[in-house]
């Protein structure tokens, strides 16, 4: 049995409205430090909204969110120091080279040797070899995503929030990115990720929450969920929960 240190994420009755549209309806969940937590659900269920709120990008309509004890609303700047958010369709500055982009980002998180180490990690994670000195504009989708994952993980955030980590990537690129992320998770980094890829979620996550129509409708470890819904895999669980 694993020992969790403290709550990395505590979400209590979080509601998010866009105008009159209720995107999140009083959802509550918690993620322990070092845990890999996955959010799955159909399109428009509220996964990305949840991740964006937790990344301090969107305002909280009501409810309470704490990241490593920091109140998301009152201490947003403190939260930003310890998190890293990778949006689904994120891009990098096209007029920079991959190396320049990593240098630009590292300047916000450290200086001196710490920054140099950060950059080394970034270069290793990106695994772009000599192409690291080419303009981002010339990168393939897989290369750009590897650079962005490297950007997100090189700073060693206490919490990495990853939206659709490998969406639209070929198998090889997806596998490489998953390996990189898993390595970071094994080193104690807390991960909150969303995905449409049920295999990816099952492989990577310690616990999963199924979100549908702005509500968490089921949660547990992959094994618990499969047992609870008498399903051979998470994909079947997903179908049963969503079509229930």
């Amino acid at each position: 049995m694993e020992i969790w240190h403290m709550a990395a994420i505590e979400v209590n009755r979080l509601t998010k409205k866009y105008g009159q549209f209720l995107a999140l309806k009083e959802i509550s969940f918690s993620v322990k430090e070092g845990e890999v937590y996955g959010l799955i659900g159909p399109n428009g269920a509220g996964k990305t909204t949840t991740l964006r709120v937790l990344s301090t990008l969107l305002e909280v309509t009501s409810g309470e969110v704490k990241i490593f004890g920091h109140d998301l609303v009152k201490e947003a700047n403190e939260v930003r120091k310890i998190i890293s958010y990778l949006p689904e369709d994120a891009g990098a500055y096209k007029n920079m080279t991959g190396r320049e982009y990593l240098i630009f980002i590292s300047a916000f998180f450290g200086e001196g040797q710490g920054r140099k180490d950060m950059l080394e990690r970034g270069l290793k994670f990106a695994h772009l070899d000599e192409r690291i000195d080419d303009k981002v504009d010339t990168y393939s989708k897989g290369m750009a995503r590897r650079l962005l994952v490297a950007r997100a993980l090189m700073i060693k955030p206490r919490l990495a929030i990853l939206d659709e980590l490998t969406s639209g990537l070929d198998v090889l690129n997806a596998q490489e990115i998953r390996r990189t992320v898993k390595t970071s998770a094994q080193q104690g980094m807390t991960l909150l990720l969303s995905s449409h890829n049920m295999l990816e979620v099952e492989l990577m996550c310690d616990r999963i929450a199924l979100i549908n129509d702005g509500m968490i409708v089921a949660s547990g470890t992959p094994r618990e969920l499969k047992e609870q819904y008498d399903a051979p895999n998470i994909e079947e669980v997903f179908v049963k929960v969503v079509t229930k």
Binding site: Y18, L57, L58, E59, E75, Y85, P87, A90, L148
Partner: protein
């Protein structure tokens, strides 16, 4: 046919957006109001001009000239005191005081042209301010022709040069409390316009260049999907806004500077050397005046950039950002055209208020107003621009903390609950 109409319908819907229409409507309104102002000025030309006439000769010929002037203009002063005449004509909104010299008739009878002095009363230095001179010029031309006829009919003299040119005109101009001897209003207007043309052009260029940089930067952040990453970095929203504004200001100033070097050579080739010594009339700028012009320009730039940042927040992508610069450009063109055409001091109060409210007006006016010693208006403009810049920056930073930055327009339901901007700015705030 239905396929064709379907495509046409789609094209019209795609092209006829508020972003396309609003700038055109604003432009139409500007031309409309300018047309109204010109129409107002030109309609006055058909009325009899208001003048004062001082007959110092009281001779037959001078009285004939007086009668000619009386026939074609409205004489509001006909006593003998020049200073009182200027005051009276000015108070009655008149254009000129015409003085027939005491040797008027004797000069003609002794085969010399008679002397008249025209003291022009000039209220503003804009092009439109010289329009009112035209009817007086016409009256003087008719009067001169009729005087020539009179000289022939009454055999006053047979000297052909005197008959052809019976009058020798001397022109002075009373301009904003200064008596400029031997200078006509059109010379003053042209010199003042030349002096005040460079700053408005600089303001326009800097605002267009730097403004489009800010809006484009926001458009590119959104199009390249880099904004979300930027917003989750451990840096305050104020620092992001300031970083973008200062970066755009530096690039905008460099680009505008390069442009202005070429423009400067072009303008200097067009400008004639000033035929009047402005220093003689106290119309030069000191070091402090230049500091005020600089401060005014800086604050207008900050205001423009903050406004552009606010517009940039609403832009969806780089293409949309290009059209977003139009409102700012138009806002800078209004004071530029108005100050070129008219003088701020001679505008109706409503137009003065409207122009004052545009932050770009103040640096455009600053040089001219300081030249005339009207530093109060310049200082008031600086104070206004400082407040405007702070408020615009506050709004920009506040909007940067709101969902609207990422989600774009707020749905109508939210708008109905007290207004989009108010809702966005004063809703629950995130640090």
């Amino acid at each position: 046919m239905s396929s064709l109409s379907n495509i046409i319908k789609k094209e019209v819907k795609e092209l006829l957006t508020p972003a396309t229409l609003v700038p055109i409507i604003i432009m139409a309104l500007i031309f409309g109001s300018l047309g109204g102002a010109i129409g107002g000025a030109t309609s006055k030309l058909s009325e009899k001009p208001i003048v004062g006439v001082i007959d110092q000769d009281h001779s037959v010929l001078s009285q004939f000239v007086y009668s000619q002037l009386d026939k074609n203009s409205k004489i509001v002063y006909n006593q003998s005191d020049v200073q009182a005449g200027i005051k009276e004509v000015s108070a009655k909104n008149g254009v000129a005081l015409i003085v027939l010299q005491s040797d008027f008739q004797s000069n003609i009878t002794s085969n010399h042209s008679a002397s008249i002095t025209v003291v022009w009363i000039m209220r503003g230095a804009g092009m439109a301010d010289t329009f009112s001179m035209a009817p007086v010029q016409a009256v003087l031309a008719v009067m001169t022709t009729n005087l020539s006829r009179y000289i022939i009919d009454h055999h006053v003299t047979e000297n052909s040069s005197v008959i052809l040119q019976p009058l020798k005109r001397h022109e002075d101009t009373e301009f904003k409390g200064r008596m400029m001897v031997g200078i006509s209003p059109d010379i003053i207007s042209s010199v003042v316009s030349q002096q005040g043309l460079v700053v408005p052009l600089i303001v326009l260029m800097v605002i267009i260049m730097a403004g489009s940089m800010v809006i484009s930067s926001m458009g590119m952040e959104k199009e390249n999907k880099t904004l979300e990453t930027l917003l989750t970095l451990p840096v305050s929203r104020t620092a992001i806004v300031l970083g973008k504004l200062v970066g755009a200001a530096i690039v905008g100033l460099v680009v505008a500077g390069i442009y202005m070097v070429g423009m400067g050579y072009y303008m200097s080739s067009l400008m004639i050397s000033a035929p009047i010594d402005l220093a003689k009339y106290g119309m030069t700028l000191g070091a402090f005046d230049y500091v005020l012009v600089g401060v005014s320009l800086f604050l207008a730039l900050v205001s423009a950039l903050a406004l552009c940042m606010i517009l940039g927040i609403f832009t969806k992508n780089y293409k949309a950002a290009q059209t977003m610069t139009l409102p700012i450009t138009l806002l800078a063109l209004i004071p530029m055209f108005v100050t070129m055409f008219t003088d701020f001091d001679t505008l109706p109060t409503s137009m003065q208020i409207g122009l004052f409210a545009i932050p770009f007006t103040h640096p455009m006016l600053a040089m001219r107003e300081l030249m005339f010693g009207n530093s109060a208006l310049v200082l008031a403009g600086i104070a206004y621009n400082a407040i405007f810049a702070v408020v615009a920056m506050f709004i920009a930073v506040s909007l940067f903390r709101k969902d609207i930055l990422l989600t774009g327009r707020v749905k109508s339901a939210q708008r109905s609950r007290g207004g989009m901007l108010v809702q966005s700015m004063f809703g629950k705030r995130r640090r």
